[in-house]
């Protein structure tokens, strides 16, 4: 089962290693991990997607909470949060496949962000399923290289992960 977990961490020395090391030593299998600065530069926000049963999910959350630099951990329920992922995909630029690729990119609201004589790069943003669907469409035509960011996610409404301490 897929779970999306948001983690609010202090922006301190080695914090990514601490979180990533936890997955290894507790034997968790994660699909993706993204990390970036928040509105407060003292903190970073991680979004982790985990494929595992209830036991793995409960343990992951509890183990994350034990890390000293972790301030908040929250399981995001899919109905209450929005998810996005960004894909960069490099395909050959051949006259015989160009129009098909551009049509597919258009349907998936992709953007051509590099157009060279031998290749082009398409940018697609969306939920992971959409990203995967686009990849599946382009694969038979030929993919030179691709890069996914992993999922970022926020809850709908005014809810915040880590209310400011005041």
């Amino acid at each position: 089962m897929r779970s999306v977990i948001a983690v609010y961490v202090e922006n301190k020395y080695g914090v990514l290693t601490r979180v990533a090391g936890l997955f290894m030593r507790k034997g968790f299998n994660i699909d993706s991990l993204t990390v970036g600065e928040t509105e407060d530069p003292a903190y970073s926000r991680m979004t982790i997607t985990l494929n595992g049963n209830d036991y793995a999910r409960e343990q992951l959350i509890n183990q994350l909470k034990k890390l000293h630099n972790v301030k908040e951990v929250k399981l995001l329920e899919s109905a209450q949060n929005v998810e996005r992922e960004l894909l960069l995909l490099k395909v050959p630029n051949h006259p015989e496949t160009r129009s098909e690729i551009m049509a597919a990119a258009d349907v998936y609201r992709g953007k051509i962000i590099d157009y060279s004589t031998d290749a082009m790069i398409i940018e697609v943003t969306g939920e992971p399923l959409k990203i995967q669907a686009f990849i599946d469409v382009v694969k038979p035509i030929g993919i030179i290289e691709m890069c996914r960011t992993g999922v970022v996610s926020l809850e709908r409404g005014a809810t915040v992960l880590h209310p400011e301490e005041s």
Partner: protein, 568 residues
């Protein structure tokens, strides 16, 4: 107007001052290149902070650990960068697995050399990440004092554990203002929600065969009295994990002993027959439960722990109480109604009788007079209740757990989770210094040979440690597993060493004796317990004495083996 000029101190001086400020009176360690400044600051403060030099950093780490276990205070160890730091690793892992409050301070190369593979540079924060509760690499001298304070706070809060602070050499020499501060309190623990307590009380009131299973958490929090009071009120029985030994006085009639792989028959069987198990500060480790899927599947299990991640980690429980277990236990004790379970009492009496029969048979069928139950009979008679009993790891450790009689808390010190051979001597030294008490180290020839270099420290500091060396010329526990699971193919477990342990101890400057009968053992032990410094008693024992009962590997508690016939 000019501001009043604050007196500046070096990072090294600040480190030592902050340790003193946080109540540290002794620390263990070993000097080296990147901690020269720290040792120089120590030299100036030696009247306020005693440093105990060991033979090896691992011994220092185990000593800080033993110090913490014996006193409940934070044990402190200091080592240099590179090999000094890596030598702490086993000690930190040992403390981590047994939740022991410790602070380790290491030096490192100056920040401008970090990452250059400089002489004795090692990324010790990276290495110790999974075996510390938290660790720090100090990058600015301004953060140093607060980092040390926070480290003490983390080490002793909630479920305790080791914290490492890595201080580069240039941070030790940098100047900064220092303001003394009071001892940092532990983080407050969350209170167990009232509805959870109420549910627990309801389940406890309904149980017909209640069993209290206590662990290191109960020992650490000093809950012995409360546990016994609850057992009395509920007409329940108490068993413990290895880490829970000494939490309740062994003379208590409610206490059935350690359960699990080599546990007492009575407590293991009582656990199996119970309809309710209340776990207090215990993680239901594999060595205690056997196969977790077959562990007491018909019983209601309630687990109390300050660490949320322990609930449902190893066995599925019906109710988890997360938070301050001292407070929660007090409330449960107040709220439960007095119970009487005559049938359960009768059953326990039968289990105890069966255990006594097994013990008698083991005693009678034993060819050698120097068998563990007889030896511990002597030890229990000779030692007073203030003596701390320390072990290494192996058969002797399990025999100690089975037979030693302990009446006071923090008087049993052993490496439970990590099972660190070589832990004992360092830990015994630390325990003795911390608690100001005499220690008996029960060890085996395998474990003792791993870190016997700490005899240097024991002799040098005149530590009153009595070393009872059970010498069977074998790595007994592994050999036992080979006997049961590997067709007696004793691969590399029969030592045949020519070491003369008495001469060896004497060469270090310790007293020593070899005994070959019980009377001589008792005489030597009595003399040793009157001796100021270390005293080693070598006791040759038969290598075919096995630790029983035992659970076969991957077995469940019901598969307990209580007898074995070994013809060699």
């Amino acid at each position: 107007m000019k501001k009043k000029k604050q007196k500046l101190m070096t990072g090294a001086q600040i480190t030592i001052e902050t340790l003193i400020e946080q109540g540290v009176t002794e620390l263990f360690g070993y000097p080296g290149g990147t901690v020269l400044d720290l040792y120089d600051a120590l030299y100036a403060s030696q009247n306020r902070l005693r440093h105990i030099l060991t033979a090896h950093e691992q011994g220092a780490a185990h000593a800080a650990d033993g110090y913490a276990r014996a006193t409940g205070r934070v044990g402190v160890v200091m080592a240099t960068s590179g090999p000094g730091a890596t030598n702490l690793v086993t000690g930190l892992a040992t403390a981590m697995l047994d939740s022991v409050p410790m602070v380790a301070i290491t030096g490192n190369v100056p920040t401008y050399l970090i990452g250059k593979d400089a002489f004795q540079e090692i990324n010790i924060t990276g290495i110790t990440l999974p075996i510390t509760k938290h660790n720090y690499f100090v990058q600015h001298v301004e953060e140093l004092a607060d980092t040390i304070r926070e480290a003490f706070c983390i080490a002793k809060s909630g479920r305790p554990g080791p914290v490492l602070i890595d201080i580069p050499k240039d941070i030790q020499t940098a100047l900064c203002a220092y303001e003394p501060q009071p001892v940092v309190p532990a983080f407050p623990q969350q209170t167990v929600p009232a509805d959870r307590i109420a549910q627990a009380v309801q389940l406890l009131n309904r149980a017909q065969r209640p069993y209290l299973y206590i662990g290191g958490g109960a020992a650490h929090c000093g809950l012995g009295d409360r546990i016994l009071a609850l057992a009395e009120k509920l007409d329940a029985w108490v068993g413990c994990s290895l880490m829970g030994l000494s939490a309740v006085p062994h003379s208590s009639k409610r206490f059935l002993g350690m359960e699990g792989m080599h546990g007492a028959y009575a407590s293991t069987a009582a656990n199996l027959r119970a309809d309710l198990i209340l776990g207090v500060g215990v993680r239901f480790s594999d060595r205690a439960t056997g196969d977790p899927d077959r562990y007491c599947s018909d019983a209601v299990i309630i687990q109390m722990d300050t660490d949320q991640s322990e609930i449902n980690k190893n066995v599925r429980v019906d109710l988890g109480l997360i938070g301050d277990i001292t407070e929660a236990l007090e409330e449960i004790l107040r709220a439960v109604s007095p119970q009487s379970h005559p049938a359960w009492r009768e059953e326990i009496a039968k289990l105890r009788a069966q255990q006594a029969r097994l013990a008698r048979r083991a005693f009678e069928t034993n060819g050698s007079a120097l068998c563990p139950p007889a030896l511990f009979d002597v030890i229990n008679r000779c030692k007073d209740d203030d003596v701390a009993v320390v072990t290494d790891v192996g058969q002797h450790q399990m025999w100690t757990a089975q037979y030693v009689a302990l009446q006071k808390p923090r008087k049993f010190i052993t490496s439970g989770g990590l099972g660190t051979m070589g832990f004992g001597l360092g830990a015994a030294i630390g325990a003795s210094i911390g608690a100001g008490c005499r220690t008996i180290l029960v060890t085996g020839d395998g474990s003792f040979a791993m870190n016997l270099n700490e005899l240097v420290t024991a002799v040098g500091n005149c530590i009153p440690v009595t070393i009872v060396l059970l010498n069977n010329g074998a790595l007994g526990m592994v050999r036992q597993m080979q006997a049961f699971g590997f067709g007696r193919r004793y691969s590399n477990t029969e030592l045949d060493r020519k070491t003369d342990y008495v001469a060896l101890a004497q060469a270090f400057g310790a007293q020593a004796a070899r005994v070959t009968d019980l009377a001589a053992f008792e005489a030597a032990l009595r003399e040793a317990l009157q001796t100021d410094g270390p005293y080693l008693i070598e006791v040759p024992i038969d290598k075919n004495q096995f630790v029983l009962p035992m659970l076969p590997s991957e077995g469940a508690l019901a598969d307990l083996i209580t007898e074995c016939k070994e013809e060699d």
